[in-house]
């Protein structure tokens, strides 16, 4: 194990105020430590000096809760492919490196403090249709819904999304398309999700737009940054599902009902 000396440029900001970068020297950082453990060490030293530690979101520290959210050297979750910040280890850095540490930046993710941002927009998008309406206790036997392995595997690929928001942070336009497409796509691919497909697709996309995210321009920075390697083909599917859903909604989509209905 060797020790690293690093120059940090850390974003400091209080809610509702303008932020700035603070230069912090991080000496003697064990290269076996994770990135967040490096931040713990830095914070411990700040506290000892009587300064306020850097606020950042984190929880499980094993890459699954999606809470950690730093942009490291311009890349959400840092330079390592398919890795969250909490799973990034300092052995990926060299002594003498300058590391820029910033929040996930997007208008739809306002800064709460320092590196903590408010990602509740994601929850609201899910509430706008990211579910199958099934009353507890009303489900048929699980094996009565047969789903081919390829479809189940594809749905699982989409479901691997941890909702961290790295896709938004990485996108040049702060678009949430990768997240929304993975969430809608999981359910839209499965037989259980078919009855509400139109409603779900329109609802989630409209909520996404309302939250102030940007638009996808097919640059795929999101896919490169995604710690779970969600494919941009889910965006293809969402585009298609959205077009079909609009046709269904605008022209009745083959379901004959008078306007007077519920």
């Amino acid at each position: 194990m060797s020790l690293l000396n690093l120059q940090l440029k850390v974003w400091r900001q209080n809610k509702g105020q303008t932020g700035r970068f603070q230069d912090i020297e991080a000496r003697d950082i064990p290269d076996h430590a994770s990135f967040l453990e490096m931040m713990d060490i830095v914070n411990e030293r700040l506290i000892q000096k009587g300064e306020e530690p850097v606020a950042f979101d984190h929880d499980c520290r094993e890459g699954i809760c999606g809470m950690c959210s730093m942009t490291i050297n311009g890349m959400p979750h840092g330079p390592e492919k398919a890795t969250t910040t909490c799973q990034l280890h300092m052995r990926k850095f060299r002594t003498g490196d300058t590391i820029w540490i910033e929040p996930f930046r997007a208008r739809a993710f306002p800064v709460i403090k320092d590196l903590m941002v408010d990602r509740s927009a994601f929850d609201r998008i899910q509430q706008a249709g990211g579910f199958v309406t099934v009353r507890t206790g009303s489900a048929p036997d699980a094996n009565s819904i047969l789903i081919g392995k390829d479809i189940a595997d594809a749905a699982m690929d989409a479901a691997a999304c941890i909702g961290c928001g790295a896709c938004v942070a990485a996108c040049k336009n702060a678009s949430a398309m990768l997240f929304v497409s993975a969430k809608a796509g999981q359910l839209n691919s499965l037989p259980q999700g078919q009855p509400e497909k139109t409603k779900r697709t329109l609802g989630m996309v409209r909520q996404m737009d309302k939250e102030g995210f940007g638009n996808c321009t097919n640059q795929y920075e999101c896919e490169a940054a995604c710690p779970k390697e969600i494919s941009v083909r889910w965006i293809t599917k969402l585009n298609r599902d959205y077009a079909v859903a609009t046709v269904h909604e605008a022209f009745g989509g083959g379901v004959e009902r008078s306007e007077g209905g519920e």
């Binding site: 440029k9 336009n173 941009v232």
Partner: protein, 237 residues
């Protein structure tokens, strides 16, 4: 009716809806650009071929055809530009605090400069239309200089106009620059269109990407061959 209209206006208001319109109008323009290039390449077949082609365009549907096409293209270009400008504005608004340190992992230069390549191409189109369609600041509308006898009928001499137009090197230079920008625009735009219209799959995407680049290359080579042939290889002299 209003319910239908509501849905469609919400479609346009949405980010995906606008993108789909950009893709559809882009597709129309892609087809036009190809047709336009093939028509223009007739210049290599001599005055007779290209002038006949020009005359055919002017006289189809008793002269209405060309106007229908022009209006259609105008609408496509208009929607394409309006929607992309709106999308770009909302993209800018979506991230007001910029990163102190920027990094790009996979996005191509072409994809990141679409709005600039597009607006430059727009400027070129305006110039190009003034040059060859409206024919401002030149004598191309003068029947005494630019008439051609096609099967006994007097028609506009497109061939001579093209040769004369590109013999002035600054016009050719601007043309070539615009074509290079069109190349970058198409290299991202053509494959993107399949993505936005929901037509790409894991298997087809690499093909669409290659197709986009090949198409863009074809257009730039085809179109640039004309001024280059005129300036450097004495076509029409």
């Amino acid at each position: 009716m209003s319910a239908v209209f509501d849905s469609l206006s919400r479609f346009y208001a949405s980010s995906i809806g606008k993108k789909i319109l950009v893709a559809l109008t882009g597709a129309a323009l892609v087809v036009f650009v190809l047709g336009h290039m093939i028509g223009n390449l007739l210049v290599f077949a001599g005055p007779e071929a290209i002038n006949e082609y020009g005359h055919m365009l002017q006289s189809s549907l008793h002269g209405a055809g060309v106007w229908i096409a022009r209006l259609g293209l105008l609408a496509a270009v208009g929607i394409h530009i309006l929607a992309t400008v709106q999308l770009t504005a909302s993209n800018r608004a979506a991230r007001q605090d910029r990163y102190g340190k920027n990094a790009t992992q996979v996005a191509s230069k072409a994809s990141r400069t679409m709005i600039w390549s597009g607006l430059t191409i727009l400027a070129f189109i305006v110039y190009h239309l003034l040059h060859f369609t409206v024919r401002v600041g030149n004598e191309y509308n003068n029947p005494a200089l630019y008439s051609y006898s096609l099967h006994g009928e007097t028609v506009h001499n497109v061939y001579k106009m093209v040769i004369d137009g590109f013999s002035w090197w600054p016009a050719s230079a601007f043309y070539v620059v615009a074509m290079v920008l069109l190349y970058t625009h198409l290299s991202h735009g053509v494959s993107s269109l399949f993505q936005t219209l929901g037509l790409a799959t894991h298997r087809t995407w690499p093909l669409f990407q290659k197709l986009g680049h090949a198409y863009a290359l074809l257009i730039v080579i085809g179109n640039c061959s004309i001024p280059i042939a005129i300036l450097f290889f004495g076509l029409g002299k």
